[in-house]
């Protein structure tokens, strides 16, 4: 798997965003400083603890980490693929002897790395506002890796399907962002009426935000809102389902590369 060719493509993908921090790391850093300052400090100071023992800023951190991670993983993969298609330099990869699996894994893992770096940056910024102690480290890392890979994999599909740059913006702003905002980033599901709790459980983002919150803070909304028999296993079940989903998305990516969807005539 780790052939010279794979490493070359992975490195190329990493360098592309690492060398452009002004475009890749600065914007989420600034946005999140604003989020923490305004929502956390100014507004959060007037909001009761959403969950007993967890202040509002602390409660916000996992959701903002997820928001930053998945949108950057998605944006990086979709942009890299689409820009390569647009200027046709993706032909450099396509005409090389890399296998389709190697191509996809290189693109996805580099984009996931960008998402994870942004996630860490946001967590560090959060730490500047409030002390954090990580409750379930291994679970947190596993969940973060899985959701970063999932959205990098979805980004590949976005980059292959897009017909112009506006399509990329639409995907990020009109689909991803609303799902995340209604994914219990800024509030706890326990604050909702039972009807809206049930509706929220249909939003896949809820499980991602919740799992990361469980990993970081040891608290899961599922403990409160999910059926009693399920509640105890909720975080692990979420991780399992997300992992399966990620594998499925990567398989679709490889299939699309194989048939040349959006890539070949």
């Amino acid at each position: 798997m780790l052939s010279v060719g794979f490493r070359a493509l992975f490195k190329r993908e990493l360098l592309r965003f690492v060398r452009r921090p002004k475009n890749t790391f600065m914007p989420p850093a600034i946005t999140n400083v604003l989020y923490f300052a305004v929502f956390g400090m100014i507004l959060g100071g007037r909001i009761d603890e959403p969950v007993e023992g967890i202040g509002y800023i602390l409660f916000l951190i996992p959701g903002l980490v997820v928001l930053g991670t998945i949108s950057n993983a998605f944006e990086n993969a979709s942009f890299s693929i689409f820009h390569g298609r647009w200027n046709e330099y993706i032909h450099e990869t396509l005409t090389s002897p890399l296998s389709y699996v190697e191509m996809v894994v290189a693109y996805v893992s580099a984009s996931a790395v960008r998402g994870l770096i942004v996630g860490v940056i946001i967590a560090v910024i959060g730490r500047l506002f409030v002390p954090i102690s990580i409750e379930n480290g291994l679970f947190l890392v596993a969940t973060m890796v899985v959701i970063a890979a999932l959205f990098a994999g979805l980004g590949i599909i976005g980059g292959l399907v897009a017909r112009d740059f506006d399509d990329l913006t639409v995907m990020n702003q009109f689909i991803l962002r609303p799902l995340v905002f209604f994914g219990a980033v800024f509030y706890s599901l326990t604050m909702l009426e039972p009807l809206w709790q049930a509706v929220s459980l249909l939003n896949p983002m809820v499980y991602m935000v919740d799992s990361v919150r469980y990993g970081l803070l040891g608290y899961s909304d599922m403990f409160e809102v999910a059926p009693a028999a399920y509640a105890e296993f909720a975080p692990l079940a979420s991780l399992g389902v997300l992992t399966l989903l990620t594998v499925a998305v990567l398989a679709i990516d490889v299939y699309l590369f194989k048939i040349g969807y959006g890539l070949t005539d």
Partner: protein, 363 residues
Amino acid sequence: MPPAIETVDLVKDYGELRALNELSLTVEEGEFFGLLGPNGAGKTTFINTLVGLVRKSGGEARVFGYDVEADYQQARNAIGLAPQEFNVDRFFPIREVLMHKAGYHGIPEDEAGERADEVLKRVGIYDKRHERFDWLSGGMKRRLLLARALVTDPDLLILDEPTAGVDVQLRHDLWDLVTELNEEGTTILLTTHYIEEAERLCDRVAIMNEGHKVTVATPDDLKRRGTDTIEILLESTPPAAATIESALGEYAHEVSTNGDQLEIRVDDGGSTVPQVLHDLEAAGHEIADLEISRTSLEEIFVDLTRQEDRSVTRSSASSAGDSEAPDAGEQEGEQSQNQNQKQEHGHEREQEHEQEHEQEGVA
């Protein structure tokens, strides 16, 4: 050894349009092979099928015996492609672009760096190695495409219109370089519509038109297929062409007069001249001057593709009578519609290209 390229009944359809029509071609290892044809003949489609940028609709295609779909990794590893379009990574300085390409082909980083330097020197843009592609001049961009094709040390080098729009100096540099590479053992497939280029470089050429092969021959063979014109100046005004024609044998395909001048079209001017002189003198004509003009490859090319066009038009006209065949006129209409769509698409791309720079900031 299997041939460098072997295709059997290769077909590529774009909807109604057949871009490759049962194309069977064999290019032997070590050959310098030319692919000639007017715009839209299917040359680039053919090449892109080999490297995996176009999916074939039917038939077989192999590179050094490797099927381009089943054994795509081996087939692609053997090929270095210098395409017509500038499809180069804009994010990195050109030396790194070359190193990445070498890396994708399994060449370790240290060696990739050495190779990148070597090919940049070879094409003469080593001093630009830290520049990005967009900052190179048109000629340098062309050179870089060649360098990128060479950096993986391919057994088969494919050059798609490498000299389109380049100046004379660069054209000659490129010619020298590819000749040298061919002498070193690299098989070369060159597409061009400059006949002179094919004549000068290629061992064999295939002429393509509308997706299929018209003929494959050496440039010399092709030239022999054309007719030569013997221009003769007689001491006295020549009589009617028909009178002269009756004095000559069957070798004279066509006789015409132009003032004092007599023009006779024959297969091979050089070997026919003594017979012509003999026959004319026997008929009582005195010859003042004589010149043979040979058909250029260009004329033969135009002739061959024109004959093709005529036969294609005829066959589609006759198929129009067939109730099951699509109406020829309608087909033509669709083709031009396709072209219009392409143009519109091109226009869109241009507009969006402007947006791109704004959008890049988003990444």
